[in-house]
Symmetry: C2
Subunit: 205 residues, 2 copies
C-alpha cells in the first residue's frame, strides 16, 4: 500500500470516532485543533474525553454503534477494542469515505503520521508501519531543530509574502524578493523587523 | 484555516484532474505512484501528460469540463488557468469530496505538502502558504540527512518488526526488542544483517 501525504482542512466537517477508550482519546487529542466537529460514539468514555465533552469541545452519543451514526461523516475513525464492532463500522462505511482503522491500518484508507507544528510550519513523518517508534524519534529530533524561533521566522515569511503578493511589483521581481527571504540572516528577529519595515515602505509608497 | 496532515491510500480510487497544463502535469507527477486511477479532463494536454497517457498510465477525456466528469471521484483537482472553469468545477463538487484548487488553496480542502520518500520513510513539509520556497528548501535539506542508507535502515526496522510482531513473545518483550532497534549502531548494514539472523534464530526456534 502506497500512502500519499495530504494536508486536509477538516474545519466544520463531521468526524465520527467509534470507541471511547485510550485509542479514541489519542485521536480526539490529535484532532482537537483541526476545527472538525468531533462526535464520539460509545456507551462509555475515558475521563479525558468526558471532560472535553463537558467543555463542549466534542459531541458524545452515549450508545452502541449503528450504521446511521455515519451519516454525513467526512472522516470515520474506528477505535473500539471489539473486533466485531470494528468490523461492523468498516462494513457500514460508504464507498469513497475517509476511514481510519486503528487496530488494522490496512483496512482503512487513512493513517495519522507523527507530526508537529511550529507556527505555520508543519512537519509529518510516517514509516508506513515500519516503526512508529522511529517516527516519534525523528519527530522529536526535528522539533528541536525547527524550534519556536523558527516558527517566528515562518510567520515573518508569511507576512512578507502577503505584502509582496499584494503589491504592484512584476511577477519576476516578486519571485526575486521571495527567494531573497530564504537567506540565513533572516532567522534573526532584528533583521526580520527591519525587512518588514522596508517591504512596507517600498511596496506601499 | 488549520490543515491536518493525513496519509491517504489513493489506490484504486478515481482522481479527476481538470486541466491539462503545467499545474495539472505537476499534480499528475505527484500522484503517479499513488495507485490512483488518474483521469485528466481537458481539450488539450501537455506533452508529458500525453506521453503518460500513451503509456496507459492515466485516462484522458479530450473535452471541456462537465459536472458528470466528477461522478464517483474520490479526489478532485482543479488546475486550469481559466477562473470561470475552475469556479464551475468547485460549484459542481459534491459536499464531503476531497477538493484541491491550485489557483486558490483556500477554496479547496486539500493541499499538497512538499514531500520525499526514502524507502518506507515519508517526510512532508508544509508552511500553510507562508513560503512554498521554504518548504522545498527544508525538504531538500532533510532528504540529504535521511538518505538512501537511512531508507535501508527503515526497511530493516520493518522486517524486524514483522518478525517480532508475529512471534510468540510476550507484548512486553516485543516492546523492549522494538525499542532496542532504535540504537544508533543499527544504522550500520552489517549490524542489521547480524540482528536479522539473530531475530530469525531466536523467534523461530
Amino acid at each position: 500500500m502506497t500512502l500519499t501525504p495530504l494536508m486536509i482542512d477538516l474545519g466544520g466537517k463531521k468526524v465520527v470516532i467509534v470507541g471511547g477508550g485510550r485509542v479514541a482519546e489519542r485521536r480526539v487529542q490529535n484532532l482537537l485543533e483541526s476545527g472538525a466537529l468531533l462526535t464520539v460514539i460509545s456507551p462509555e468514555i475515558e475521563e479525558k474525553i468526558h471532560s472535553l465533552w463537558e467543555k463542549g469541545l466534542l459531541n458524545w452519543r452515549q450508545k452502541y454503534f449503528e450504521a446511521e451514526d455515519l451519516d454525513n461523516a467526512f472522516l470515520i475513525i474506528v477505535a473500539t477494542n471489539n473486533s466485531v464492532v470494528n468490523q461492523s463500522v468498516v462494513q457500514a462505511t460508504p464507498p469513497n469515505s475517509l476511514l481510519s482503522v486503528a487496530s488494522d491500518a490496512n483496512q482503512g484508507n487513512v493513517q495519522f503520521p507523527a507530526h508537529f507544528k511550529q507556527g505555520k510550519l508543519s512537519v509529518s513523518i510516517s514509516t508506513n508501519g515500519a516503526s512508529p517508534l522511529l517516527s516519534a524519534k525523528i519527530k522529536k529530533h526535528l522539533h528541536t531543530i525547527y524550534d519556536e524561533n523558527y516558527g517566528d521566522y515562518v510567520d515573518f515569511l508569511y507576512e512578507s509574502r502577503q505584502l509582496i503578493k499584494h503589491s504592484a511589483l512584476a511577477k519576476k521581481e516578486q519571485k526575486l524578493l521571495l527567494k531573497d527571504l530564504l537567506r540565513e540572516d533572516f532567522l534573526n528577529k532584528d533583521k526580520q523587523r527591519k525587512k518588514l519595515v522596508c517591504l512596507k515602505g517600498d511596496i506601499l509608497k
